[in-house]
């Protein structure tokens, strides 16, 4: 009898555990369905092209064109990528290949610390310290610009890019380095022509995840980019991103109004973008694992 009860407990627990594993899939589907259900109704009031490519975001007048918001997000992200990807990869190479052990032990926790600082704290520093510097440096009417956002976001994407790229570089077999050095290459030639090319899938994956983090970042961007929902012409103007729009306006909308639906539709666009980016990064990691 005792044996029976043990077997029953075992079966029940296996079912519970299996269910817990599967809930992760359920949650992703649930998020997607909820965004669809609350986002798609906006197309009763506007069309898909008008929504995606409309140049005016005037929610109070019922005009929902998210082009300025998409361009705002893209501009800020592009700026952050230009800064963070080369810098992040360089730091990864330095930590993995060049730095003496003591420096390495000092650098890694520092980069990890940066990843742990809450985005609202980074935004706060950006608002109080960086924005005035940007304003004075480029003599602008305001320091709250796309450029300020890019700098802040670059800082936030760096830990992701650096740690994943560093893992990829460290995982390159020692033989590659030995073979290259034995051929008479210098350490730098070895890094540039043997090690980094062999780690490129992992580096790519780190860059993608960094971009994913940047596009989805909300609070810091809301605080430092100035929030002007107009199509940007330069990076030294205030912009408004998709994430900041949701954060700033959701609290003031009437439930199930066109504006409410429009904000969920923006959420849907964001979800689809980050889903695609994560899929790409994941495929790159799998490819690099398969080739080992």
């Amino acid at each position: 009898m005792a044996g029976d009860r043990r077997k029953i407990t075992d079966a029940v627990m296996e079912a519970v555990i299996r269910f817990s594993g599967i809930t992760t899939i359920v949650f992703v589907v649930l998020i997607f369905v909820l965004l669809l259900r609350n986002g798609l109704p906006v197309f009763r009031y506007t069309s898909v092209p008008k929504f995606l490519f409309g140049r005016d975001w005037l929610p109070l007048s019922g005009v929902f064109g998210i082009l300025p918001l998409i361009l705002g997000s893209l501009l800020v992200t592009a700026g952050a990528v230009v800064i963070a990807v080369p810098l992040g990869v360089a730091v990864a190479v330095y930590i993995a290949e060049v730095a003496p052990p003591r420096v390495k032990e000092f650098l890694k926790p520092i980069v990890e610390t940066l990843a742990a600082i809450p985005s609202v704290v980074i935004g706060f520093i950006g608002l109080l310290v960086l924005a005035p510097v940007v304003q004075r440096l480029f003599s602008l009417p305001t320091g709250l610009t796309a450029f300020t956002g890019s700098v802040v976001l670059a800082l936030m994407a760096l830990p992701t890019i650096t740690s994943i790229a560093e893992d990829a570089i460290t995982a390159v077999p020692r033989d590659y380095r030995a073979a290259s050095l034995a051929l008479g290459a210098t350490r730098w030639q070895t890094i540039r022509m043997a090690v980094v090319p062999a780690a490129r899938s992992g580096i790519f994956s780190g860059a993608m995840l960094g971009i994913g983090r940047v596009i989805g970042e909300t609070m810091a961007v809301l605080m430092v980019t100035g929030n002007a929902a107009v199509v940007p012409t330069t990076i030294f103007e205030p912009v408004r991103t998709m994430t900041a729009t949701i954060a700033a306006e959701m609290g003031e909308t009437v439930q199930y109004s066109p504006h409410y639906f429009a904000l969920f539709a923006i959420g849907l666009v964001l979800f689809v973008i980050t889903f695609a980016i994560n899929l790409l990064a994941d495929l790159a990691v799998r490819r690099s694992m398969a080739s080992r």
Binding site: T24, I25, V28, P118, S180, A198, I215, T218, L222, G251
Partner: protein, 308 residues
């Protein structure tokens, strides 16, 4: 070795690179190039370290004078322009506790599934992909989701319950990844010994695998606490209140929270005294980095004391 060498050669199309440095000047060139490249690498490390050091020094220098016991244990007053951050601290503690209650059991069970039950098939692959995606969903989208499903659809209202559930979803991948790593680090022989003694699979997991993985699981939980305590976007419309004259009394009450408090003190309250802003920022940073430090210490001790 041969493959590596041929690969290295393939990646070097220029003829000059293929030749071994024969005379002194070529060698000099390569050495100089290396020196320049390494200098750039060192410089980039410096460029990254400086802002981090600057941020932390600024927060400590500007925030420390404000952090008195009175500041930590009193309510905001005079239209948020004086007083302290007590209700925001308490609100964040409640939120974190709520998050842990929901996220830890589910996250640990999911990790047990992945490490003990899952076979390498399409379902497992899909679960892993889902976890990667949950980790990548922007925090504001979690906010939208929590608002749509917990606040409106399930009718919890703007409440601690809705906020905790939303944050729980957000930290779920953190818990799963850390717990799975800890479970996988328990040697296979432990499981075999337990099963050979006649224990069932669940008994083995509960009495042998989980206890041995506990420090790793706790590391994950502490990291999840740090993450939940610092997030703002998911709580904007699910729980956060601008100001409350009293502490929340039930899970259906709204709450103030430290990150949201910092946000409103720096953007929504005109002429807020800098002391309150920097003090709030430093308090939040201490909680979040403190949790990360605790996680790092547990992990390090666990690695050193591991009996196998």
């Amino acid at each position: 070795m041969v493959a590596a060498a041929s690969m290295a050669a393939r990646n070097r199309p220029q003829a000059e690179d293929l030749r071994l440095p024969v005379h002194g000047t070529a060698r000099m060139n390569n050495r100089t190039r290396e020196l320049i490249a390494f200098t750039f690498l060192r410089l980039s490390a410096l460029i990254v370290v400086l802002p981090i050091a600057l941020i932390i020094c600024l927060l400590v220098i500007q925030g420390a004078p404000a952090l008195s016991l009175k500041f930590l244990f009193s309510y905001p007053s005079e239209g948020m322009r004086a007083g302290g951050i007590f209700p925001a601290i308490v609100g964040t503690i409640y939120l974190v506790l709520g998050t842990i209650v929901f996220a830890v059991p589910l996250g640990v069970m999911a990790a047990v599934y992945l490490s003990e039950y899952a076979r390498p098939n399409a379902l497992t692959r899909l679960i892993r992909l889902s976890i990667v995606n949950l980790a990548g969903v922007p925090s504001i989208v979690y906010g939208l989701f929590g608002f749509g499903i917990f606040v409106l659809l399930l009718g919890f209202g703007v409440s601690l319950l809705a906020g905790s559930l939303t944050l729980a979803l957000l930290v779920l991948p953190v818990v799963i990844v850390a717990a799975e790593e800890a479970l996988l680090s328990v040697p296979q022989t432990f499981r075999e010994a337990s099963l050979a003694l006649g224990a069932t699979k669940w008994q083995t997991i509960r009495r042998v695998v989980l206890p041995n993985a506990l420090p790793g699981v706790i590391t994950g939980v502490v990291l999840a606490i740090a993450r939940a305590a610092g997030e703002t976007a998911p709580i904007l419309f699910t729980v956060a209140a601008f100001y409350l004259p009293r502490l929340p009394r039930s899970i259906f009450d709204q709450a103030m929270a430290l990150p949201y408090h910092l946000f409103i003190m720096s953007t929504q309250v005109p002429n807020a005294p800098p002391g309150i802003q920097w003090g709030t920022a430093l308090a939040l940073l201490i909680i979040v980095l403190g949790m990360n430090l605790i996680a790092a210490v547990i992990r390090a001790r666990f690695r050193r004391r591991r009996p196998w």
